[in-house]
């Protein structure tokens, strides 16, 4: 199987937001001293006057972004997912989500790939947390193509947005130019035996699992959820109806994450048994990307194994 690698989503972040700012005077980047990691430095080179360094002070940073938004600016946040979601959560809740401030929360280093930094830098519950906030869309792009398109969409959208971006290059799922359709799920592989629902960079590995399963004669239908909130309930129901068996796969906790969202939707609209593959209330650790995928059961091979054993029941 030949895998076409995409570019790291963080680079796409720096470039895309810089390009947005070329055309839109309102765009600024607010950084928490990690611009050299999140590649906000690309933006800084292009627009030094609109690169706002806030230092290592994330609570203040999110509050400043809310204030900037009321003055008509469009701030994009540059930090790690781990430091954008939890520490300043109260600021996000009171100053951004509740009043629907036009702030783009666009951190990278989402999921397990954080450059072998371990538990302090890996946050697995960001999707669960952010999707519980009022007015807050949650987008988890599959690859560089979707990341760029989602960032452009966010720049034009009025209101808060959360986009979880990745640090490292991962396989490309969508050809360049593939449009981002907010709130719409995408069937990325047709199948008839089991429906796999996944999000973010995990979708590429879920597709890999589907290929392995096909070799065993299992036909997997794969639905990619680029927008976790609002969830494309119609597409989820249709995908569930198609095979009658649903398994969610995500690079994050199964508690309240994509698995939670899908189970909630199906419970309400088309009761279906849902199995959830992802981190099951476990702690995390540092390690090379491939090792972490193996340990937490998210490599293509490990996903295929788990799907087989779920189907064997």
């Amino acid at each position: 199987m030949t895998v076409m690698m995409g570019r790291p989503q963080r680079e796409v972040f720096g470039e895309t937001v810089a390009a947005l700012a070329d055309d839109d005077r309102r765009v600024v980047v607010v950084d928490g001293d990690v611009g050299s990691s999140t590649r906000a430095d690309i933006f800084e080179k292009a627009h030094p006057d609109r690169y706002l360094q806030m230092g290592i002070a994330e609570q203040n940073m999110l509050g400043v972004a809310a204030g900037l938004a009321t003055m008509g600016l469009v701030p994009f946040i540059s930090t790690f997912v781990a430091f954008a979601v939890v520490r300043p959560l109260d600021q996000v809740r009171v100053l951004i989500a509740q009043p629907s401030a036009n702030v783009k929360i666009t951190p990278s280093y989402g999921g397990l790939f954080t450059g072998q930094t371990g538990m302090s830098h890996i946050i697995v519950d960001d999707i669960a947390i952010m999707r519980s906030l009022p007015n807050m869309p949650v987008i988890v792009p599959a690859d560089d193509t979707e990341a760029a398109a989602a960032l452009r969409w966010a720049g034009a959208h009025e209101g808060p947005v959360y986009i979880r971006l990745g640090r490292d290059a991962t396989p490309r799922v969508f050809d360049p130019g593939h449009p981002f359709r907010f709130g719409r799920a995408e069937v990325v592989r047709e199948g008839s035996d089991v429906t796999l629902v996944s999000t973010g960079a995990q979708t590429a590995r879920t597709l890999e699992a589907a290929v392995l399963l096909a070799a065993d004669g299992v036909s997997a239908h794969v639905l990619h959820i680029g927008t976790v909130k609002p969830l494309d309930v119609e597409a989820v129901v249709a995908a569930a109806e198609r095979t009658g068996r649903v398994i969610t796969v995500e690079e994050g906790t199964v508690i309240g994450g994509l698995g939670g969202a899908v189970a909630e939707a199906l419970g309400e609209h088309r009761p279906t048994r849902v199995h959830r593959i992802g981190l099951r209330d476990v702690d995390v650790q540092s390690g090379p990307n491939d090792a972490l995928l193996d340990i937490y059961g998210l490599s293509g091979i490990r996903v295929a194994e788990q799907v087989r054993s779920i189907l064997a029941f």
Binding site: V64, G67, M71
Partner: protein, 305 residues
């Protein structure tokens, strides 16, 4: 009830009659605070009363705002970071003509635009939602920075409590604002030397003040701010500090205003338990008498909750 009061349009320094006018507005803010909190049987008292003179000076003298056009883009911004004092802000806004004074009686109620803590999505004229202490200064810093980036002559005023200054975020913002030389940002600390509960000690009401004497002035100075230390109940000093704050020298400005929690109602002054507490009918009448306000009609009906 009385109608709205106009803002001062005199450009010259405040004369005695302007000071008297503002003192009377501050008194009326206090009256409306007592009336509304009594009516709602909920809300805060000590903090709103200590901030009344500062709010009168802001809304009737200093802020370039238009009550009839609350979203006017070039208005000065005001953030009540100590959002629990919302009723004093609402009273100032009502008197200034943002909305009818009668609406103050909806304070704290369901569907009211006058939420327990300021909710900018409900009431035009509120520049930021607050209530979780420590955040207003960050938002204010963003506004001051935003004004500069969009080349607008806008000044941003943020009122903090002295207890609120225990929040780490305040000092994150204090550091960052100096870095950006935001001299269009004015913080006003309502230094009433009480917080909600705090520690026992030798301060007012047998409590320890949130900050030791001189500590706030020293801290803001140490963070690179220009500090003006005033009596927050002396109208002439308040106006003078605001006038001096207008002349920027590259440093953000902190006005440390010494105040008395519960000011204007002697039996509430300096007592920590009046931070938030329902008012009994006889206390209501006494408070109104002490504020020189006749108690009109029957007091609000007794409600058990």
């Amino acid at each position: 009830m009385n109608g709205a009061v106009g803002a001062s349009d005199t450009a010259a320094g405040p004369d005695g009659s302007e000071l008297d006018r503002l003192r009377e507005i501050a008194r009326r803010i206090r009256v409306e605070v007592i009336r509304s909190v009594h009516h709602a049987r909920a809300g805060h008292l000590g903090g709103p009363l200590s901030a009344a003179d500062l709010l009168a000076a802001l809304y009737f003298h200093e802020l370039r705002v238009r009550a009839e056009e609350p979203r006017w883009e070039d208005r000065d911004r005001f953030i009540l970071s100590k959002g629990h004092s919302s009723i004093a802000l609402y009273a100032a806004m009502a008197l200034r003509g943002y909305f009818p004074i009668e609406e103050l009686l909806t304070f704290d109620g369901a569907h009211s635009r006058l939420q327990g803590h300021p909710d900018m999505t409900r009431l035009p004229g509120l520049d930021m939602s607050t209530g979780s202490l420590g955040m207003g200064i960050s938002a204010g810093m963003g506004m001051a920075l935003g004004a500069r980036l969009t080349a607008r002559d806008v000044r941003v005023y943020v009122m903090l409590g002295d207890g609120e200054c225990q929040e780490g975020e305040v000092w994150e913002a204090a550091m960052a604002a100096t870095r950006y030389r935001l001299d269009n940002l004015v913080v006003i600390v309502d230094h009433n030397r009480l917080q909600q509960y705090g520690w026992p000690g030798e301060g007012p009401d047998g409590r320890t003040p949130p900050q030791a004497p001189g500590e706030l002035v020293a801290k803001w100075q140490a963070f690179g701010w220009r500090v003006l230390h005033i009596d927050g109940h002396d109208m002439a000093s308040i106006l003078d500090a605001f006038a001096r704050a207008r002349a920027g020298d590259g440093r953000p400005i902190a006005i440390v205003a010494d105040t008395v929690k519960g000011k204007g109602v002697p039996f509430m002054e300096g007592r920590f338990f009046w931070h938030t507490r329902p008012i009994k009918p006889e206390e209501y009448e006494q408070a109104m008498r002490e504020l020189g306000e006749p108690v009109l009609g029957a007091p609000a009906p007794e409600v058990t909750r």
